[in-house]
């Protein structure tokens, strides 16, 4: 297994820049997830690591070796595609054996590797079938099998679960995590699904508009999002945001919104009267107690808990509570926005404090 180093990498198509000066070090055996909305450049970055796209500027190293100008076959990496990209004219066994045959592995070596992978992925009875005769989940497994038989330096995943239905996706997500714990392979995984990113990653790279927005462990991104983009992208239901002004009456910092004021537990390094965006996660809003009164617009019971849509002084809020609250639409309910749960972002959308 090898580390992957990306330094100062950019990608341009003619005059259009899609990736700007990306630097990222993936440690050996690490599971890194690139996450972001579609068009953020995450797949392009992955394809550049694979050698399917040219690098416009910067360097990519796999296991210390500069691979910028190496063709994909010389990089010794495996990739799982969103469409699986199974060879339709080959059986499952041949699909998995293809890379080994190209490497002139002995017949016996191929058989051992395929059987091991098939056992691991539960494909034993399907080896003779063609991909066309498999279900989506089975195809996904074959695509995984094709990647693992070879013991490559690194695995690349390009939205491998996007074509599966929700239940199967959840199942395969766990399978991938299990597989990673077993094989300990360096992996880079691209997804637009923040739940996949949170559950799978050792480290998440949140991307938007061709820039890296934040790199960190899933909980770091969740607890301390570096900017408004990450704050809004990670977490479901999404973080509540509202504008407020910073005030320091009697030197006690507080947030002032036209309809309410909140005292702060810290003093952000900003001038008096500075405009802020304040964020609070739905699960951190306390309902049933507190200084302010919200009006209930909608109640969504999820079984696990309740999502309440509220209006507070013209601002929309979603609150999530594990309790099954007896809320009535149109009624007022006291709510509390605890000071230590508030995320503050300055006028440029960058986290403060």
């Amino acid at each position: 297994m090898s580390a992957i180093d990306i330094s100062g990498v950019s990608k341009r198509y003619g005059s259009i820049a899609v990736l700007h000066d990306i630097t990222l070090a993936v440690a050996s055996r690490e599971f890194v997830v690139l996450v972001g909305p579609s068009g953020c450049g995450k797949s392009t970055l992955l394809r550049m690591i694979a050698g399917l796209e040219e690098v416009s500027a910067g360097e990519i190293r796999i296991g210390g070796r500069l691979v910028n100008d190496l063709p994909p076959k010389a990089r010794d990496i495996a990739m799982v595609f969103q469409s699986y990209a199974l060879y339709p004219h080959m059986s499952v066994a041949d699909n998995m054996a293809y890379s080994l045959r190209l490497r002139r592995t002995s017949k016996q070596g191929i058989e051992t590797a395929i059987n091991a992978a098939a056992t691991k992925l539960g494909l034993g009875s399907l080896l003779g079938r063609k991909p066309g005769a498999l279900s989506g989940g089975q195809r996904q497994r074959v695509a995984m099998g094709r990647a693992i038989v070879r013991r490559p330096k690194a695995f690349l995943f390009d939205e491998p679960l996007s074509n599966l239905d929700a239940r199967l996706r959840e199942h395969m997500r766990a399978e991938i995590k299990k597989l990673h714990l077993e094989l300990g392979a360096t992996s880079i995984y691209v997804t637009h699904d923040q739940i996949e990113a949170m559950t799978l990653a050792d480290r998440i790279v949140a991307m938007n508009g061709g820039y890296v927005q934040q790199v960190g462990s899933p909980l770091e991104l969740y607890d301390r999002p570096a900017n408004l983009f990450v704050a809004g992208f990670i977490g479901s239901p999404a973080m509540n945001m509202f504008p407020a002004l910073l005030s320091r009456r009697e030197s006690r910092p507080a947030l002032v919104h036209p309809g309410f004021a909140l005292s702060l537990d810290r003093d952000p390094p900003l001038a008096q009267g500075a405009a802020l965006t304040v964020g609070i996660r739905p699960e951190h809003i306390v309902l049933g107690a507190g200084a302010v009164q919200g009006v209930v617009n909608l109640v969504e019971p999820t079984g696990l808990g309740t999502i309440a849509h509220l209006t507070l002084a013209g601002a929309e809020f979603k609150a999530f509570s594990l309790a099954r609250l007896p809320l009535t639409i149109g009624a007022s309910v006291p709510m509390d926005l605890p000071a230590h749960r508030l995320h503050l972002f300055d006028a440029n959308g960058i986290r403060v404090g």
Partner: protein, 278 residues
């Protein structure tokens, strides 16, 4: 749908298909019928569906006393060579157009399209002037070159659509698996486009097999004539030898039929591949 209505639906369905097949096959039937009718009955029993006496005398004459076997051989050489060369050229071009974005690509596509816009008659004279000094008139090679030139653009568009129907990821997966681009083409893409290649080959073969205009204008000696030109030799100043002409026509069907029989297992898949998401 209720039962009687369904029966009505399907029987009219089959009736229409049968009518069409009858309509399409009737000339073919007439060809065979005339070829088998002895000369003395040809005019007396002209409109009967089947002659009172059938014979193979026209076939015997055509095979032994005419130059038809030579024409036949020439046609076979020209059509097969054209089919092979066009398939290779259009396969390579179609792959290039399907997979790569390069400078001048729109211009090349436009030029290829333009070549398809001229009536062939317009080009006979310039073509003759071009080929004569090169010694390529009265030559099978000349015909192969002309046919290849005229068929390649359309065949290229056809092949491109077949390559377009194959996801790019398959090649990318193969290249990551350790294949070169050419290796990925040969081991993954080629087997998958075989139906398309067969369809293109069949199309070009039959186009070359039945081409008359250039074969007639460029080659005047019978040594280098193809069979459509040969068929014309049964038309003389004062009479047309219908029996022999039809017998030759029937013989000319054989290679085309054999060729399509050979490729037909790919053909249906080929012509519909890419039409729907598979």
């Amino acid at each position: 749908m209720r039962r009687p209505r369904r029966i009505l639906y399907w029987s009219s369905h089959y009736l229409l298909i049968c009518l069409y097949v009858l309509f399409a096959l009737f000339p073919l039937f007439w060809l065979i019928k005339v070829a088998l009718t002895p000369n003395d009955l040809l005019y007396s029993e002209g409109i009967r569906l089947w002659p009172s006496r059938a014979s193979l005398e026209h076939f015997r004459f055509v095979l032994t006393h005419s130059e038809f076997p030579l024409f036949f051989r020439n046609s076979l050489i020209v059509s097969s060579s054209t089919a092979v060369s066009v398939t290779l050229i259009s396969g390579a071009c179609g792959y290039g157009l399907s997979r790569f974005r390069f400078r001048g690509r729109p211009l090349i596509v436009a030029l290829m399209l333009i070549t398809q816009m001229f009536p062939l008659v317009m080009l006979v004279a310039p073509m003759f002037r071009l080929l004569a000094p090169l010694g390529l008139t009265n030559s099978l090679t000349g015909l192969v070159i002309v046919y290849s030139a005229f068929n390649s653009p359309f065949a290229t568009f056809l092949m491109q659509s077949f390559f377009d129907a194959i996801p790019k990821e398959l090649e990318e997966a193969a290249m990551i698996d350790g294949a070169t681009r050419f290796g990925a083409f040969r081991r993954i893409i080629l087997p998958l486009t075989l139906p398309g290649i067969a369809a293109t080959g069949g199309f070009v073969f039959s186009a070359a097999w039945s081409e008359l205009l250039f074969a007639l204008m460029l080659n005047s000696s019978s040594r280098a004539s193809t069979f459509p030109v040969g068929l014309l030799s049964f038309v003389s100043k004062f009479s047309v030898d219908f029996g022999q002409m039809m017998a030759a026509g029937v013989l000319a069907l054989i290679p085309a039929c054999l060729f399509f029989l050979l490729i037909q297992r790919y053909l249906v898949r080929g012509l519909t591949a890419g039409a729907v998401k598979g």
